[in-house]
Symmetry: C2
Subunit: 367 residues, 2 copies
Amino acid sequence: MPKLTIRDIAQLAGLSKSTVSLVLNNSPKVDPATRDRVLEVMRSHNYTPSTAATALAKGRTPFIGMIVPGLTWHMVAAVNWGVASVIEQSPYEIILYTSTNEKDYSSLVERIRASGLSAGLLVVTHDQALDPLEKLHRTGLPVVLVNTLGTPSTLPSVQADNYEGTRTALRHLLDLGHTRIACVQGLMTYVCCQERYRGYLDGLAEAGIDPDPELTVEGSFHPPTIRERVTELLARRDRPTAIVAHNDNTAYAVMQAVIDCGLRVPQDVSVVGFDDIASSADTHPPLTTVRQPFPEMGKAAARLLLETIDGATGDAGPARMSTSLIVRESTARAAKKPHRRARPPAVGPDTPPRTWSGLGPNVSRTS
Amino acid sequence: MPKLTIRDIAQLAGLSKSTVSLVLNNSPKVDPATRDRVLEVMRSHNYTPSTAATALAKGRTPFIGMIVPGLTWHMVAAVNWGVASVIEQSPYEIILYTSTNEKDYSSLVERIRASGLSAGLLVVTHDQALDPLEKLHRTGLPVVLVNTLGTPSTLPSVQADNYEGTRTALRHLLDLGHTRIACVQGLMTYVCCQERYRGYLDGLAEAGIDPDPELTVEGSFHPPTIRERVTELLARRDRPTAIVAHNDNTAYAVMQAVIDCGLRVPQDVSVVGFDDIASSADTHPPLTTVRQPFPEMGKAAARLLLETIDGATGDAGPARMSTSLIVRESTARAAKKPHRRARPPAVGPDTPPRTWSGLGPNVSRTS
DNA sequence: CACAGGCGTTGGACCGCTCCAACGCGACCG
DNA sequence: CGGTCGCGTTGGAGCGGTCCAACGCCTGTG
């Protein structure tokens, strides 16, 4: 069947295409009866206006560009979920750009600019240099960042309140009577991690505890390294009774190190994560963690972008979304003074490999 | 600066816009010298043709629709990576559709059809009813499925060779001297799981082993349930010395159950997964697993779709991509006859919670 | 009764590009 | 030397909408 055009509809309704166009853009100046008739004709003939023609005539496109990192992180998907749910309700569609590596990044941004397809740009979990984006933004293309990792920016963005989140975690541990609280950092070049670390320090300070530098494990995000460092930490006589990790995956490695030392979570050591990715509800024990409201962040960012496109002020500055502490079973009241001795970690060629125990996402509907 | 049009370029080059158009579509009938001149003008003025106008005039759009499930699975991202790398090289862009729940599914498909934006449709990790898609495909819109879970389909699709993959895993275990090999199923309503189970049975049969029905753990994909079942299995006198799981997340739960029983991986029980998701290289011990070539599957699907759009035959039928066995440290030679006794799993209100030991993705660059 | 004003409708130029029929022109042919 | 051919180029009619100036008609007013 030949695709119907606005002209056909006009003819069928006995009107000019101008009127039909007015109906399409629901102009108030068209007679209600006429409008209904036109709508009825459109519905019964299953008519949809051509996007290309509309875009050309109107001079603007119905697309939002979204740049996501090539790697697969839970958070990206969670943010996307929120973004999609908002965009779905708008006349826009999402064009997906996958940034594979930094080298291509500015050429990707250039491609987006040149194509002129996007009415706005959403950048998810961005950790690259920001100059290309800032330049683009100055060009007039609205840009909103969500969940930036790296450098801070003057671009409008939506972030979780990393500082306050960590403070809440600290408060929780302090309430449970912990005083020796260690911190396993993430990559400290990331602003979010810096903010979390500040939250840790200030949280201690507020309780009048002098932070012991020995209790800070420097960042890496690399599980084996983390296990090693935490193992060392736990071997100390004055080992911590609680550990806050800069994200959930780090917390997993921490928990594992605790086990490897013959200690128990949470009886001997409490562990708190950050993010609340899906699998954290299903670890063993389930992880107490600071939830980042990823879907809400996605929604907020999408809404912010849509408003900006529709001519709002433009530079709203970074929005902070508040986190919430999800208390599960990896934290408990601090143990009484002299506690179970940590078993020195097994080493040497003839020791059996350390055993492992896994985690599984809630219901992993993997193929 | 005013956006340049083809007319401006024509004027600047002292030619008609027809000629410039010919250059844009690199027609062979334009004089090389002319072509170079035009290209030079375009480059120096940073000209890009309007997508909307081109789409309208040509009557076809430069977009590929891609439907992904709302949930976050490693595989989706991995497949997407492959898709993106192929589409990037083509004149097409990807429009992202997120299918949140089944109810919206057919309306989503309808929206895609009606908008007429997509020149083709890529459906990633699809487990919904296929009728809407098949109808769409009959309409003339090319559709390619990647990594389908649910019902099989006559639509062109790209899948991993689940059957052969499991057989390879079985062969590996048999070579290591295992004879009592258990299988922890996934959701058996999924075709992929059925195929894997067939691979398991046939693998045993080939070695002349009569499959013991007691060694099949029925599917759920639900970690706690899996832990429970596997614990029961290991408590048996004639417990298995190896376990194949229908996916990696299941394998994690299996490993955990093994630990919980006081047994060791791989000395007492070998464990094999399926998928090779990123974190599996980083479990403790690292997981031996059957790798699904997700990025390659994405690439293949994208290429197939592009070919179909460009008028190739159309119905290539399902393509199978071969898997590869990644041997890590969760599998070892079968133990000699009388082996270490499984400790009955801890139960009761006053038993300490089972301890946990985590896994962490290789480098989890999470915020 | 002529005229102003408002409402609803309309014709048509235009958005930027494609593509086809037609055209100019030099080379080649009879 | 006129005619044919083919190459490279061109004018212009679409593609399917938008939007503005203009227009008919009906009502209210002086």
